[in-house]
């Protein structure tokens, strides 16, 4: 019921002119960019600028997203979500349609970009995403509805951007909006509480998604099925450890997962390099052993000193008497 009325109310043909009730700005609809459970996004012309407009008959969900975007705007020099341009209402046929206007982020979505430009981009984009998520988590938010459709690759130079903040939730609350495949609750691997680990689970599922573009359904669920799905794709083998860690919520922060991914890539760049790291690790093992031996020697020394001192003291007392 809700959805059908929403669709009828907010469906507009290109060329429709929107005039805001409060700020009187004029926007001309160019085309539809996408629609979801909570509204429709249009590409529109505003002066000489292309902008994206999200509208919904549910004013509260618009307000809620505007709140998130406003708080992102306070984070300096970051690219969390699109920047907010205007918030207004549009009265059409006696109905009030709330909308907000944001920066238009042009580009293919995550999966289309990778299928066009090659798998080599996966790591770069995931690293960018993880550092964005880190900033977002530090500000007390969790993105929530993280999925390839909500990730747009701008560029050149290619830069990943999160769009659709409909699922973005304050940490500690219940996740507002999610998509089953990327939701740890669906796989039986955790709660739907907004925690950084919730987003990191979704990041792991996005990496798995690159090898399964059509996704897959839950059969047994849980870690066993996901581990099996990872093992079936050779391209995922190098990430297996990182993916299992993220899926089981072992990374405390996005930064930690990022560092791990970075190390994993560096150790795999060429076989020669990896042998170097191996050679480097061996001496450290012997070093600790030496240290251990030193410690043992230290105990003997201490014991001797104490013995000597107490002997001297005893001698001193004895001479006093």
């Amino acid at each position: 019921m809700m959805n059908s009325t929403l669709k009828n109310l907010c469906r507009f043909v290109p060329g429709t002119i929107i005039i805001g009730k409060w700020h009187q700005n004029r926007y001309t609809i160019l085309k539809e960019l996408g629609s979801g459970a909570n509204g429709i996004v249009y590409l529109a012309q505003f002066h000489n600028q292309k902008v994206a407009i999200k509208m919904s008959d549910n004013g509260m969900s618009i307000t809620s997203e505007v709140n998130v975007l406003k708080s992102f705007a306070k984070v300096q020099g970051s690219s969390l979500g699109p920047s907010l341009i205007d918030v207004d209402d549009w009265v059409v046929k006696n109905h009030n349609i709330s909308f907000y206007v944001m920066e238009y982020i042009a580009g293919p979505d995550f999966l289309s970009f990778i299928s066009q430009k090659g798998k080599g981009w996966t790591e770069v984009l995931i690293l960018q995403l993880l550092s964005d998520l880190h900033t977002l988590h530090e500000k007390g938010w969790v993105f929530g509805d993280l999925k390839p459709e909500n990730l747009i690759v701008m560029g050149p130079p290619p830069r990943i951007r999160c769009i659709d903040v409909g699922g973005t939730t304050i940490q500690g609350r219940a996740i507002k909006e999610f998509t089953e495949f990327y939701d740890r609750g669906y796989w039986g691997l955790g709660s739907r509480k907004a925690e950084p680990t919730y987003d990191l689970f979704a990041v792991a599922m996005i990496i798995i998604n690159t090898e399964y573009p059509k996704r897959f359904n839950k059969t047994s669920g849980g870690m066993n099925q996901l581990r099996e799905q990872i093992r079936q794709k050779t391209a995922l083998h190098k990430y297996e450890r990182i993916l299992t860690n993220a899926l089981q919520g072992r990374y405390q922060s996005a930064q930690e997962m990022r560092m791990d991914l970075l190390n994993c890539m560096n150790s795999q760049t060429s076989p020669a390099q990896s042998s170097v790291t191996k050679r480097q690790t061996r001496p450290t093992v012997t070093q600790t052993r030496q240290a251990y031996r030193k410690k043992k020697g230290g105990w003997v020394e201490t014991f001797l000193i104490i013995m000597v001192v107490s002997f001297l003291y005893f001698f001193y007392i004895y001479s006093q008497v």
Binding site: M1, M2, N3, W22, A37, G59, M60, T63, S64, V66, N67, K70, V87, D88, D89, N96, S98, I170, G172, R173, A174, I175, K176, E180, G185, Y186, S191, R192, K193, A194
Partner: protein, 245 residues
């Protein structure tokens, strides 16, 4: 601001009622007693017939709730979405009434300039996170629902997972209709967790008739029973609270 406890009935059905009172009237009755009625219609490959569709929308509309018709496989996501949507709707209503008292007249959040709505929304969000919630689930177990029941069970487990991520209290009860002897049968008493459904659900037998109206009526009395028992307890709590102040 304390909106008390949000009370919802969640009706999961796949078609028309064919016995007893008019379910739309019963939903209106529920609304009058402060209980929201949400309806989820479960489809198969074919669509639900027009009459069934009308009834589903009618029940939700007069019950002040949300309705949605979905395929069985997307039930989980819908159940939690519908429940949340209805919660926000009710809370918005509460906040709007509060605003009207402050601003006077028939002003609602929508009449505020967009810049000022943000703070109101934060209140609604906060309430949605902390408010107590009671959901009574009514599951249609008429013959045609038989093979959809495992999906319904999954969806309900998923619902308790979603809602228990909130910091507020949740209570769930589950009724099925038709029951073995009566129109309605209680499957699960008020509980914060729905995990116990896993063992009960497979044993369900399905029957022929669909007494939706009587089921809603029965559900209403169940809310009242609980309230009277709870009332004693909560009064005690309040006294204790006053003393400690």
């Amino acid at each position: 601001m304390n909106p008390g406890t949000l009370k919802q009935i969640l009706l999961i059905t796949d078609g028309c009622s064919n016995q007893g009172e008019d379910p739309v009237a019963m939903a209106a009755l529920a609304r009058e007693s402060g209980i929201t009625v949400n309806v989820i219609g479960v489809m198969e490959q074919d669509t639900i017939d027009e009459q069934g569709m009308k009834e589903i929308e009618g029940i939700a509309m007069s019950g002040g709730g949300v309705s949605q018709v979905v395929y069985a496989q997307s039930l989980s996501q819908t159940v939690q979405m519908v429940t949340r949507k209805a919660m926000t709707q009710t809370l918005q209503g509460v906040v709007n009434r509060e605003l009207q008292q402050i601003l006077g007249g028939s002003k609602t959040v929508e009449d505020l300039p967009p810049e000022q709505r943000g703070e109101v929304m934060e209140v609604v969000d906060e309430l949605g996170e902390t408010v107590k919630l009671e959901v009574l689930v009514l599951v249609d177990t008429s013959a045609s629902m038989k093979h959809k029941l495992p999906t319904v069970k999954e969806a309900l487990l998923d619902l308790s997972l979603s809602l228990n991520a909130r910091s507020g209290n949740n209570q769930f009860g589950v009724f099925v209709f038709p029951g073995k002897k009566n129109d309605v049968e209680k499957l699960l008493d008020w509980t914060p967790h729905l995990e116990s459904l896993t063992s009960i659900f497979p044993k369900l037998t399905t029957g022929g008739i669909t007494p939706t109206g009587p089921a809603i009526r029965e559900a209403l009395t169940y809310f009242k029973k609980k309230r009277s028992l709870r009332g004693l307890l909560s009064r005690d709590d309040e006294q204790y609270f006053e003393e400690s102040m």
